[in-house]
Amino acid sequence: MNTHESSNAGPSHKSVEIAVAILVMAFGAIVIFGSTSVGIGWGAEGPQAGFFPFYIGLAIVISGAVNLVNALRPDAASGIFAEWSQLRQVLLVVIPASIYAVAVGYIGIYVSSAIFIAWFMRWLGKYSWPKVAAVAIGMPVIVYLVFEKWFLVALPKGPIENWLNL
């Protein structure tokens, strides 16, 4: 999978494959557990609620196990999953984006979007402040006009919007 060999190290592809297969099996086990607690047998109205998900969970565990065995085989795909520098790059987006996703519920989508865009452009793109401000403020304003005024779809708002009485 990794065509570009590089001096940079990273987690091996094998270990990530194994971890994913184990997580898949764990998920299947949760599904089986959840199904058995609502009944997997035959009730008054036919198959009970857990009947179908139980077998789905079983299939998840089995396919996860096969993938685990395949990943453990010595001829399985070698190489690294991604370089640490690449993963750092990915985390640089995942962490702020996750904070953004949580913030949407508290301070509204407009303010959090403006902060997020500004952070991204300034930190990763190294743009000058006027450019950053133009996009970071312009985009939420356009979204506001299109969604709230044109299509009449209400988006989450926070204290600042309430204060501005939007």
């Binding site: 898949v24 599904v31 789905i56 396919s63 690449q86 987006v93 969604f147 299509f151």
Partner: protein
Amino acid sequence: MEEFANLFHGFAVTLQPFNILVMVIGIVLGILIGVLPGLGGANGVAILLPLTFSMSPTSAIIMLTCIYWGALFGGAITSILFNIPGEPWSVATTFDGHPMAQQGKAGEALTAAFTSSFIGALFAVIMITLVAPLVASFALRFGPAEKFAVYFLAFCSFVGLSKEPPFKTIASMMIGFALAAVGLDAITGQLRLTFGFTELLNGFDFLIAVIGLFGIGEILLTMEEGLNFRGGKAKIDLKVVLRTWASLPRYWMTSLRSCIIGCWMGVTPAGATPASFMSYGIAKRMSKNGRNFGKGEIEGVVAPETAAHAAGTAALLPMLSLGVPGSPTAAVLLGGLLIWGLQPGPMLFVEQKEFVWGLIASMYLGNLVGLIIVLTCVPVLAAILRIPFSIIAPIILVLCAIGAYTVNNNAFDVIMMMVFGVLGYVLKKCNYPLAPLVLALVLGKMAEEAFRQSLLSSQGHLGVFFSNGLVSSIMILGLIALFWSAIQEGFTRLRARPA
């Protein structure tokens, strides 16, 4: 010819000014979605779906399908000019399209790509016009067992035809089914798999999953590659278009073959991506210029583009006539039907004639409008592509968040979207296909209902799925599809032995 009368009525519906307006808006948005990284057909349609809630179902489906056509057209632009496939199905277009652009023949390559896309789509729409009503009237006789058998066939062909390892396809599909089962069980009215979390009461919405898996996941993949757009310039003028058009009839055989491959792969839920690769491979083997493939052969652009667009269009045939979508984007459209209060499946052709034929008529017109727009707007689109990723990425992420929020007006869904995004990134990197997960999430409840109803009627005997000729032949087809790669391998071995 009742169908033709219906089709003409459909054209009358489509030609209303408002519907033409939404068609053009849809195509333009679709092309943008197709050229921008991180916004594919499926999640583009998912993000824009909430905007259609207030429209009539016919206008809504016209807008959303036109976004889909636009995305199919747009994918070719980035592949040819920048060697970056905007969509997975345009990967094969880069093989010959980008070398052509490097030789200064970008205009020819783009014209060939757009025209082939149009021809592929036209072929598939004609097939839908002729075949869909027949399939639908046939499917009206289906009981729960037959319905389940059709779902079974659809999912089995995923396992048999996808190029990913079969057990990864199964794992991904079953995760989709499990997520679909979370929440209220429609038959018994019981809560299941919620583990006491009130956020899970309504289950997992597949639109959130699509936006996360495809949208956020794609952005993360692009971040990892540290993508830089290296711009190529493209000019298309009438002279180039006419010259290319004059040269295209030579490849009619390649076109026809690609159309058929595309339709076949689109109807079975294998989808546009394998269709484009397969068509490219076969064209390379059959063409007398096969040796020049990969160095900028126009036939190498015609073959994958025709097949991809034919498959993308044909994917709507099973969605309309059986209620089984042939691609993730078709699955999102099917979700739209449910939201607008329409029951997908054969009854549509009986109860919602105006909707179905309006949609089919809009496919003809939408693709024509799309062809004209892409041919005239390439310079503008190429300029949009030169906007750096560090500006585009946060804007796309914000759009994804808005799309996720508006599905149910729920801020928790934005967090779910991020979870699906990271999941999509890891699964994609580990070679788990995402399309089966989405399709299972969409169809899970319906498949389960059909399964349980059939078992109820048979008192729990699995024999109900082999109780008559129709249902057993669909089930056997499904089993053949499931073990297709094993069967193929067996054949090659048998053939190799006597030699």
